[in-house]
Amino acid sequence: MKVTLEHYLVVGAILFSLGLYTAITRRNAIGILLGVELVLNAAALNFIAFDHYVAESHGPAGQVFALFIVALAASGAVVALAICLEVVRSHRGLAVDDLARLSR
């Protein structure tokens, strides 16, 4: 079985859909963030797959993009989780339904 570009794209598509489903249907803020991480990983996987299979003359562009995705995902997650911690400390819980309004 020869592994081609399409295999990686399909895996990336399924990963993306699962991440999107997680982000849409979770009530816990951290659960939603986990879904967002899945989406970002699927995108990075796509970038690297294209970088490997498609002729590229501008250097390792796909890998540079994936590197940036890793760094940006990390920073996004850190800030979001700091906010989650702050929200929990104000005794508001993490269910996003209850957080829809800024004041109680």
Partner: protein, 175 residues
């Protein structure tokens, strides 16, 4: 025994790991289980990077994503979860789940169709495995500006997260 392609076997194993763990993230009841599922996804994707001759990126994925982001997630989960609520802390929304499910399946179907039907301009390029030097040159060459901006962004993130978490610590009055 017929010549089985090691790359193919590795791909299937990694795909099972990644998609299985993603299913755990999507459907687990406890948010701790979801975070553990994310570990599986990240390791599977790191394996994919290694298969796709992005060795530096595979190592960076493990180092930064697993060793950094996932640990932050686990800390957040542990600090916001009490034992009583653990098992049901990640309930999905009450209504609209079915619609969301169908919409997601439709989206997945669309993406897969696009992936399979498009004629990609595949290149017969030399697969050159050591990518570290190339990445280094790219980051200090054509991509120097985004690199510097990213450094600025990371600084802003660090300061911002510290500012938010610090006020949380002061309010929570924990040593």
């Amino acid at each position: 025994m017929a010549r089985v392609d090691i790359a193919g076997v590795a791909f299937v194993a990694l795909a099972l790991l990644t998609l299985g763990s993603a299913a755990i993230v999507a459907f687990a009841r406890s948010v701790m289980h979801s975070a553990a599922g994310l570990l599986g996804v990240l390791c599977g994707v790191a394996g994919f990077y290694a298969l796709l001759s992005a060795d530096f990126l595979a190592a960076v994925q493990l180092l930064v994503y697993v060793g950094g982001t996932l640990v932050v997630f686990l800390f957040a989960v542990m600090l916001t979860l009490t034992s009583a609520r653990a098992a049901s802390s990640n309930e999905p929304i009450a209504t609209g789940r079915r619609a969301a499910g169908w919409a997601t399946i439709a989206l997945a179907f669309a993406l897969v169709t696009i992936a399979l039907d498009t004629i990609w301009p595949l290149g017969e390029k030399l697969v050159q495995l050591p990518t570290t030097a190339k990445l280094g040159h790219a980051l200090l060459g054509p991509y120097a500006l985004p690199f510097e901006l990213l450094a600025l962004l990371l600084l802003a993130t660090t300061v911002g997260a510290l500012a938010i978490a610090r006020s949380a610590v002061k309010v929570g009055a924990e040593p």
